[in-house]
């Protein structure tokens, strides 16, 4: 029996799945393409989130009661389904490694420049193991408690930073046309494909048929948050944002009220680390569920520690330095994510619908042995 999480908890998990890490990485990648019009990326992100939510909405209807990995075996058969499931699993693993590595980059760059990078990652993984060992229900409750505080803190910090805003930083509007805005939206769209991981949590929801709607609501809220965050970042930092690794950090550091309220960045750091914890918890949980489904295990709890070990060392091995990380995120990851996290589920839906149609048109008579594939035997 899978643990159940409420719709609100699921909504917050999906929100942090993109924003938790996106608030570190997305402003940096947007700054490589545009400065003045960066706020437009937020609303455009919603288009990507809408596309993913449509896929999720159709997927749960075409494959009722099945998670992504089981559904791939139903659609493509046992072996091809397992190969594609393994491909998805590698993507989830690399995705989790990427987020963990970015969190470490943030911590080591700003606060522990002389600490070996493997120490903060290891420290970060231990509470994560504990939380996931307890189950996704505990992570969901944690999300429910932390989210209002984290959202309110970030919102207040952004509002305080507006004292340094310069309207000249956001004009002229669309001076270079709309093309740079679309190019800057590619990486945020890539992050939107993370919503597909909702398909691994369908067993944890009371009504999986509403999962597409919940993903869409999360996507809209993420888009509006991006609009606000990008607008304030550009208003405050202007041209400097393209030269800094963490533009939002510069925005928060600029907050100063008289002589009694300054250096509020620790508040921001606490919020970022907490929300990235939730982000990685959701990703890691999805990866463990994928492993469980792919290998037909009873429970994922038997390999939480070993999974954490693989992620910890994988983050070190695959993404050695920040230059490699940024280059991978901007020039390789979008194509990889679109093909894997968007293309494969869409293909599975098409194949299943075609199979159904062919089955419906088949003349009544002797039916072939086998049935629905690998998942037919599963409870």
């Amino acid at each position: 029996m899978y643990e159940q999480i409420s719709r609100l908890q699921f909504f917050f998990l999906m929100f942090w799945l993109v924003i938790g890490d996106g608030i570190l990485m997305i402003p940096l990648t947007i700054g490589q393409f545009i400065i003045h019009d960066s706020w437009m990326v937020g609303p455009i992100f919603i288009l990507g989130a809408f596309a993913v939510s449509v896929v999720v909405h159709i997927f749960v209807r075409v494959f009722p009661g099945e998670n992504l990995i089981d559904a791939l075996q139903t659609a493509f058969g046992l072996w091809l389904g397992r190969v594609l499931g393994g491909w998805m699993l590698v993507w989830m693993f690399l995705n989790t490694c990427l987020i963990v590595r970015k969190e470490t980059l943030f911590v080591t760059t700003n606060y522990f420049p002389n600490t070996p990078i493997y120490v903060p990652i290891a420290v970060f993984m231990v509470p994560l193991i504990y939380a996931l060992y307890k189950g996704v229900e505990v992570v969901g409750r944690l999300t429910e408690i932390i989210s209002p505080w984290a959202i309110a803190t970030t919102f207040v910090l952004y509002l305080l930073a507006l004292q340094n805003a310069r309207f000249s930083n956001v004009v002229p509007v669309l001076a270079d046309g709309f093309s740079p805005v679309l190019k800057a939206s590619l990486v945020p769209w890539m992050f939107a494909t993370n919503f597909i991981l909702a398909l691994l949590m369908v067993s944890n929801l009371k009504d999986p048929r509403k999962v597409g709607k919940d993903v869409l609501i999360s996507g809209i809220v993420v888009g509006l948050t991006g609009l606000f965050a990008e607008l304030v970042t550009t208003l405050v930092t202007g041209m400097i944002r393209s030269a800094t690794l963490f533009p939002v950090m510069e925005v928060i550091r600029s907050v100063r009220l008289g002589y009694f309220l300054e250096r509020l960045d620790p508040l921001y750091v606490i919020t970022v680390i907490t929300t990235i914890f939730l982000n990685v918890a959701a990703l890691f949980y999805a990866m463990l569920i994928a492993l469980q489904s792919l290998f037909g295990c009873k429970s994922y709890r038997s390999f939480v520690w070993s999974g954490a070990l693989a992620i910890w060392t994988g983050a070190l091995f695959f993404l050695e330095n920040s230059g490699m990380l940024v280059d991978y995120v901007i020039y390789t990851a979008p194509g990889y994510y679109f093909v894997t996290a968007f293309g494969i589920p869409v293909l599975a839906i098409i194949v299943q619908l075609v199979k159904r149609r062919l089955k419906r048109n088949r003349p009544i008579g002797r039916q072939p042995a086998g049935g629905r594939g690998a998942s037919a035997a599963k409870p």
């Binding site: 493997y118 190019k183 590619l186 070990l309 979008p334 990889y336």
Partner: protein, 75 residues
């Protein structure tokens, strides 16, 4: 120090593995062993500096960079 931390994680995995073995959960044990092996391999490659000499994500870059660049060009 890195191998001290590896041992710490591996010890946790060994405890889990012990209970899997005790409960005759062969698949869980196999998955756990596979993940530990991958983790130790990555740690060894990182420790020996192999990740500096080779680009581990090079395969993905060869496969998907042209597509990503085409997306950028077409936008």
């Amino acid at each position: 120090m890195i191998f001290g931390i590896v041992l710490f994680f591996a010890a946790g995995a060994a405890v889990e593995g012990y209970f899997s073995w005790k409960n005759k959960e062969r698949r869980e044990l196999g998955v756990s062993l596979g993940l530990v092996a991958a983790g130790v391999l990555f740690a060894a490659l990182y420790y020996t500096g192999a990740s500096e000499r080779i680009y581990p994500l090079g395969i993905l870059e060869r496969l998907f960079r042209p597509f990503t660049e085409w997306l950028y060009d077409s936008l």
